[in-house]
Assembly symmetry: C2
Homo-oligomer: 423 residues x 2
């Protein structure tokens, strides 16, 4: 059988070489249109393949999959069918879209019913998020923060190289790309002020992250080893962990970030499967000291994914302000999931686990304004001549990501959100 | 109309004066039995009233409520109908159970179909928890912890009297009373050890808490004022926030508690409504300094609820080890919910908001082993002659709570869980 990742594959749909969605990608998402209620789709070039329509026309017949799982407002029920089924559906979609297959391409009515232009659909939240954890797994980010706020000589706390540090976040306020966000109100206290005040955050920031979505549950008490984790990870999205730095500084001791984060987190709508990312596995950074055995892993579990952040002022142009890469992660996803479940905490289908800010080694690769402007001391100049220390009202923040090898580009599309003034 | 809280009300069901569930209480829960699949019930004396059966027999006809909302495995769909409907159903149930009403009591077939002994049912999780926050709102608890771990002279951190400090917790591992828990494995590091190790927690603790459940959603960007909060709170349960102190110490800097909490939290199965607790409102502690206006409230929002923790060794007797009261809370629930939503974070139906450990002013009212034994330096002696610094394998921890006034006792039943050894 031809593998769905084979660089030699071509589709009967014309796809630009710059597209994030060649036949080797086939990410899953939830869309609606003027004529279609929310359902599961797969991105292919500039189109969406409507899996609900594909299933209705018996094109998944040999898979023995309940066709109604594609007619749902979230991917959860499809994902819950397990990795063999995700893979079988992806392989079958690959087959249907291949240039040597005419099951859809040879039938103009089917083409019309199953394919819809991306410009004609609205993308919705891909999953109903049951639980959300945010990790803190980039050593460059943790070092930058520790240097700024604590001690440059002891930037990393003693636990950092032993534990994939993380905290529970708010699931309800994770929203899909394209949804405007509001600058949050909150309590802050300037270091020299006698008392705190309440009002719009003045230090609104983004954090460039990648999140993985789990597709298999465990029971309370079960643990997942890093080597088993691949079977639990359905796919990945880009994740903007919006942060109000002034609120965070005042609230976070001793129980961690709370309202500084929970006002919104934005994600990209297409879930790129671990299968699609297989060709882009790379070795991660050397871990020294060696992690404890429950965090031990075999094989490569980092991924070479180019990441970029762009800032677009109201009516202005996109300014590229950061280029980073997911391969920089010190702790990989398999270790994160193993750690999360090491106390017996049960994993659910649709959980979201974000990486933490992905900063690279040099200044242009820092994944937040906090680091890029070094706490606002080194503002960024934009193409329209204006400066930014943090994010202004009406600014749009865009994150994009893609992996590329052997001429094949597997991308995430983007996560994009405009900041509206506080209410 | 007679109010459902009226102390003069009596039911045609015989109810012991020591029962937590007189006709003035009427808490909601989800139960199943040998012959009934999961559904909504109301506790009355030693019985459960099956609301699914009540609705099927058209006894809710005048309420215009979809009868199928009572035939669900969680209360969420019923709760989502809003406060006027919770109240109307509670009032109607009160009417049906009153000694001057024979709609059920006068029909032996109906009695048999609608009433079932509590000893014949299994209680399930009352709600599907979408989001869970744990606050830290007892000044005595925060002071005890600050005294032990930081500085007795500056036990409270500077933000504590300005913010109802809280953090996001793990929703998936909240489980119902009666479910055994496993001692968690985790990473810990003794102060004098060169490196951390992984294994069963040695300092397993409970935290005595009360949690409220929200029954009305907000949109992203909306804020709830403390004076509006009563309309969002459906009811309360007892909450045991299991904690692994040795894991917590090592992991919690800088992002807060994580795996030290997420292995399990146990709740009592009956949700006592805010309406049932109305007669037990009391003034809370004086808040000085005065909170910022967004946390300002009118009326009394503390509740006089007696709380008790009991420890029962394997095959042994219950030992009362703590008596506290929910009235001690420095920050009330209305302020907690206002704070949670003050940044625009959206509230969902079925969210759970726990109080944080409820310690009172004296040593017998401390709500955790950490405080009761002062970090293990003053062990508790049990009736069988054994000692406890923290919780042992096969110990059962039981929490009970009730309010009492004018001879009427409105109780929560209990939350009870046995600790099994680590896997």
């Amino acid at each position: 059988m031809i593998k769905a990742n084979d660089p030699a594959l071509h589709s009967w749909i014309e796809i630009s070489p710059e597209s994030d969605f060649p036949i080797q990608n086939l990410p899953f998402g939830i869309f609606e249109s003027a004529t279609k209620d929310p359902r599961v789709g797969v991105a292919i070039g500039d189109y969406v393949l409507d899996l609900c329509a594909v299933a209705q026309h018996n094109l998944f017949e040999l898979l023995d999959v309940d066709p109604t799982v594609f007619h749902r407002p979230y991917l959860n029920d499809f994902i819950a069918l397990g990795k063999p089924m995700w893979r079988a559906v992806r392989n079958r979609v690959s087959e249907l879209l291949r240039n040597d297959n005419d099951e859809i391409s040879g039938n103009s009515r089917l083409m019309q019913e199953c394919l819809i232009k991306q410009s004609d659909v609205r993308m919705l939240m891909p999953v109903k998020v049951g639980n959300y954890t945010d990790f803190y797994s980039s050593i460059e980010h943790a070092t930058n923060v520790g240097t700024m706020f604590r001690d440059p000589k002891n930037a990393l706390l003693p636990n950092w190289k032993h534990i994939p540090i993380g905290y529970h976040g708010r699931a309800s306020s994770i929203i899909v790309s394209g949804t405007d966000i509001r600058r949050p109100n909150g309590q802050t206290k300037a270091p020299d002020a006698a008392a705190p005040t309440f009002g719009p955050s003045r230090l609104l920031d983004f954090e460039l992250e990648v999140a993985f979505i789990t597709g298999r549950e465990t029971r309370l008490g079960d643990m997942i080893s890093p080597d088993e984790a691949d079977d639990y990870i359905f796919g990945l999205v880009l994740f903007n962990d919006w942060s109000a730095r002034d609120m965070q500084t005042w609230e976070y001791v001793p129980l961690g970030p709370f309202l500084a984060k929970s006002f919104a987190s934005s994600i990209s709508p297409w879930v790129v499967t671990l299968d699609a990312l297989e060709p882009f596995r790379v070795k991660g950074p050397v871990q020294d000291p060696k992690p404890l055995p429950y965090l031990d892993f075999h094989g490569d579990h980092n991924y070479d994914i180019n990441l970029e952040v762009l800032l677009q002022p109201e009516d202005g142009q996109e300014n590229s302000i950061c280029r980073s890469n997911f391969k920089h992660m010190y702790w990989n996803m398999n270790q994160q999931l193993a750690h999360q479940s090491s106390n017996g905490c049960n994993i659910q289908v649709g959980d979201m686990y974000a990486s933490g800010t992905i900063s690279g080694p040099d200044k242009t690769s820092y994944g937040s304004m906090l680091e890029l402007t070094w706490r606002g001391t080194q503002p960024i100049e934009l193409s329209d001549g204006s400066e930014r220390k943090f994010i202004n009202d009406y600014d749009t923040v865009i994150m994009r990501g893609f992996a590329e090898r052997n001429g094949i580009r597997v991308g995430f599309g983007e996560v994009k959100a405009k900041v509206l003034p506080a209410l």
